[in-house]
Assembly symmetry: C2
Homo-oligomer: 605 residues x 2
């Protein structure tokens, strides 16, 4: 192989300590700076072809491992894929047990396993990366200064499946399943399979790989969005549906209460989130540029416990006429620091929100001593999310009111297993703390920039803003079936830490949102506050200005409770006829238990 | 706590090197010797109560960890449970990712995690150990000289479920499900739940724990055995059944072709083998004495890569009137050395064989060099079974004929992941070796003693004898629906290494076996030989003498092919009317492609 060695600039170091990034005030333009030393002029380049990674339809996973090892060994700054279609299969992939917040933990095969790498650009040069089967495309762990640019990610066989509704019957629907979604009906159950050639009887050592399916949702085939007011059908704990094969790829689903419009598309969601597109964990300075994510078996990009993340000019969008792109959120960030930038991206048709930026609560399950407690990660998709270590500062909150009880610092944390940790603090616990209360870390909450994005046609909401760093959401376009923007945080269901401190929402267009069941206002400021609403003020300082709201009836623009500091000004409302107007009018502003609210210059008490 | 310290005898060391155990000729009587130094007179004893392990209905798992740590720290020889009912829950259990051959790998919670312990007796004094939920009762890893004695193991809620057949309908059966087996019918699917109080809607963060069910088998309620000629219904890849709730705990199953007799019991088998009762791995000198296994979520006792294992006067038997005991084999041993003794045990109503003692084949998937290949663990329940290390001797076999091609020794093994390993040998590969062939280790094959056991009413077969050490099966009683004794081994389906070299079957009673679908003769000597049957001789030297065969018709007593050295003499056959006689007679002896066969003194060609 050839190593193209250039003079190494010092910008790498500068990048990590430079004011742009530490201050988090970096404009989008600083992206060029970020990439400067990774350019052909200043860094060593490895062409994957030199290691046998070829766009020839053969599995590239083995050769890729060698190329990545070479990057590490040689200190190369750029790994380049000549434009082509590269295939990655799980057989020879690296394997590791990975806890991925809000996705499913597990022993995973990983194609691009970046572990402990620094200063590397992975440049696809417009290539297509096609993944087959149960494989995680990218995991970035303990890395720094990684840039992914200019390639697409897709799966040969998606983890979800689709079918066209061709008839209704008294116990459900008949669907025609396209050949892209192999299936079999076995013992009265519809199973989606990884490939058609895994036929034959299922036995105790059956080789047929089942996708695992556990969710139904109707999409409007013509509009390519969730069907008007379609609801979720959850099948958790199962991986199949009661069904009969009617022949001709038509299957009769027997699901009591299942309804849908003839011609619409029924999307069969997977029963897992095993394979997010990109997992970034315990890393810093990771950037995504011009990446197209057509599919992932989970979220598109998951960042956790990482610092300074940027997603720019990326697209989450289906391929091959499919209705769905990623099977969960397009992006999602947990306990991240520094900055998070989502700029000029397209997020469409993913099966959940465009982003959610939050922290994590653990519940206090036992008070063991004056300064010692047992805590538990409550949501199964938070298990193994170990953020409590000696030195970490935490806040205690009352479980039902979300009122802060005090703060402390961890002196010692003993992990019992993926759920429980015993924690000793450097001082006595707050007197009021009781079992059922929660705690989360106090850290350098990321500064969030969400700008110039298009969010549309996905299930559920747009942006979930639950980060205490300064948050600016501007010049975005939203067409979401649920709330376009949601503020939440609770310590009894999702256990996600939220509570903005300084949030600006301006110059966005909210177009015909709320055509689905996932929200009660275009901008929804809430939190899981069950008690003491009079005094609990969880979210603070939200400014909503110069936005355009296109609505198809008497819908709520803003719903808020238990917050302090809310200003609404210079927003424009336009009425459309895009959907049937709600028969029951909702107030434009639905506000309760708030302080310091000003709507168009008028204080609200 | 109190440490009762006695003079430490040297029998521990003697035990490990003593002639009884190394020679494997130990009679059952030597058990007393094995236990001698663990008695109260010669060893330190820890009473679990001193560490708060109490039979009070509260979870003992946390306190048990402390007691086990104390055993390690103090060098105690005996851990004693005052007689009582002890409860173990998964919440605070140790956690580890475990590969368990012929069971399911996974991140498991373990109640009794014995890791690196030596010279310990766990004495239950007749106690009941009750496990709740997804927890593995016992894992013994890297241990030596461990004795389990005098306690029972049961689960509060079994991993399988049962229902009484109350009606037949055109698409299946109606069953009444006892309260011991919580369930719900949700979206047209029957799910078995861990507890009744996990009701409420299933959502994306549902707290309801699903047992996971994927197999149906009819049992004769009165006879408490698998129903006459009942077949398996496999639902692999699913965890539920198409169903309607008819009320009154009666559920209508819609499973095309499902038949069963009114009043009989339908057993819903779990879709996993996550929690075997005892896993013994990489250990030596492990003994089970007077242990009763009422249930396990997988096999009862699994020994792998271990040396000198004894199961004596144990019982695998259901409790509480349940039809099933363990949900898979009662015992199972893979790549074990030294000796294996199964003596005076009761194995009944387990959902698979009483034992299977075998090795493991990996398949050659690539020939990389004159002395280098890539191999793959093919069966998903063999993944992670890493037996190839530098120095290990192996034999190569032709994949379709099982003919040995040669032997070699591993020079270097590089594990790719749980399936693939790249292996370099110390000499050139056999010339004939091609992709698709297999290899297994040549080792100190265990000497097997199976004596004085009762095997009855389980699914499938009795003893699977696939070990090349001297194997003696005597004075046992078999009443199995399939073959009582099966010899197999193949390299295309189970990938289990077999091929006995010296096996004696004598003074056993085979009573009315073959009343089910799992075998074609009472003693079935076969192997997965697809080619070159004329020359392949896989099993060798089997002597069958002085046994009693009670049969209910013209059934085969002995089926054999591709073996060398078979003697049948002085066996008694009695005709019974226990079941309807087969309408099609089978030959008493069905023998082909064998050498050196003598039946009652008459050579067979």
């Amino acid at each position: 192989m050839t190593l193209v060695t250039h003079t190494t600039s010092q910008t790498s170091e500068r990048r990590r300590v430079g004011p742009d990034y530490l201050n988090g005030s970096a404009a989008i333009g600083s992206r060029d700076d970020l990439l400067a030393d990774a350019g052909a002029g200043t860094a060593r380049v490895i062409d994957v072809a030199e290691h046998g990674v070829l766009p020839d339809g053969q599995d590239c996973t083995r050769a890729l491992k060698i190329a990545l090892a070479e990057c590490r060994g040689s200190g190369a700054k750029r790994l380049v894929f000549p434009k082509g279609r590269y295939v990655f299969r799980p057989e020879f992939a690296d394997e590791l047990y990975l806890f991925t917040s809000n996705n499913d933990e597990g022993l995973k095969r990983v194609a691009f396993m970046l572990n402990g790498l620094e200063d590397l650009v992975i440049d696809g040069q417009g290539s297509e990366f096609i993944f087959h089967g149960f494989i995680s495309p990218f995991v970035v762990q303990n890395c720094a200064n990684i840039v992914f640019e200019n390639f697409s990610v897709d799966f040969e066989r998606t983890f979800h499946s689709e079918g066209i509704i061709v008839a209704a019957h008294e116990e459900g629907l008949d669907v025609r399943i396209p050949e892209a979604f192999p299936y079999k009906v076995h013992n009265g159950l519809l199973l989606f399979m990884m490939s058609e050639d895994t036929g034959g009887p299922l036995t105790s050592v059956s080789k047929g790989e089942v996708c695992g399916s556990g969710h139904l949702l109707e999409f409007d085939t013509a509009k390519r969005e969730t069907a008007f007011m379609a609801r979720d059908y959850f099948f958790n704990g199962t991986s199949c549906y009661a069904a009969k094969d009617l022949g001709g790829r038509v299957v009769r689903l027997s699901v009591p209460g299942l309804v849908g419009k003839l011609g619409n598309t029924l999307v069969f969601g997977p029963d897992h989130r095993k394979h997010p597109g990109f997992v970034v964990t315990h890393s810093r300075e990771v950037s995504f540029e011009r990446i197209t994510l057509h599919h992932a078996g989970g979220m598109g990009i998951l960042g956790q416990l990482s610092h300074n993340l940027r997603v720019h000019r990326c697209r989450v969008t289906p391929s091959h006429g499919r209705m769905l792109s990623t099977t969960a959120d397009a992006t999602h960030f947990v306990n991240c620091t520094g900055f998070i930038e989502l700029t000029e991206n397209l997020f469409e048709n993913q099966k959940d929100d465009a982003t959610n930026i939050h922290g994590t609560y653990v519940q206090v399950t036992e008070i063991l001593d004056a300064n010692e407690i047992m805590v538990r990660l409550m949501h199964r998709q938070q298990h193994g999310f170990d953020f409590l270590h000696a030195g970490v500062e935490v806040e205690f909150v009352h479980g039902k009111s979300m009122i802060t009880l005090g703060a402390s610092a961890v002196k010692k944390a003993v992990r019992i297993n993926k759920e429980f940790t015993r924690v000793v603090f450097d001082r006595a616990l707050p007197k009021e703390l009781v079992v059922g209360d929660a705690l989360a870390s106090i850290h350098d909450y990321a500064r969030v920039t969400i700008s110039g994005n298009i969010v549309r046609n996905n299930r559920a909401r747009g942006m979930l803003l639950n980060c205490r760093g300064k948050t600016v959401v501007e010049n975005n376009y939203f067409h979401t079936p649920g709330a376009a923007i949601l503020f939440e945080g609770d310590s009894f269901f999702w256990f996600e830490q939220g509570g903005v401190r300084d949030c600006v929402i301006r110059k966005n267009v909210f177009e015909n949102c709320l055509f689905g069941v996932w929200g009660k206002a275009v901008i929804d400021v809430k939190a899981g506050i069950l008690e003491r609403k009079e005094s609990s003020r969880y979210n603070r300082n939200i400014l909503i200005e110069n936005n355009t709201f296109r609505v198809f009836g008497e819908q709520s623009l803003l719903h808020a409770y238990c917050m302090d500091g809310l200003t609404w000004r210079d927003n424009r409302v336009e009425l459309t006829t895009a959907y049937p107007a709600p028969t029951k009018a909702s107030p434009r502003f639905d506000i309760s238990h708030c302080d310091n609210v000003v709507i168009d210059g008028e204080p609200r008490v």
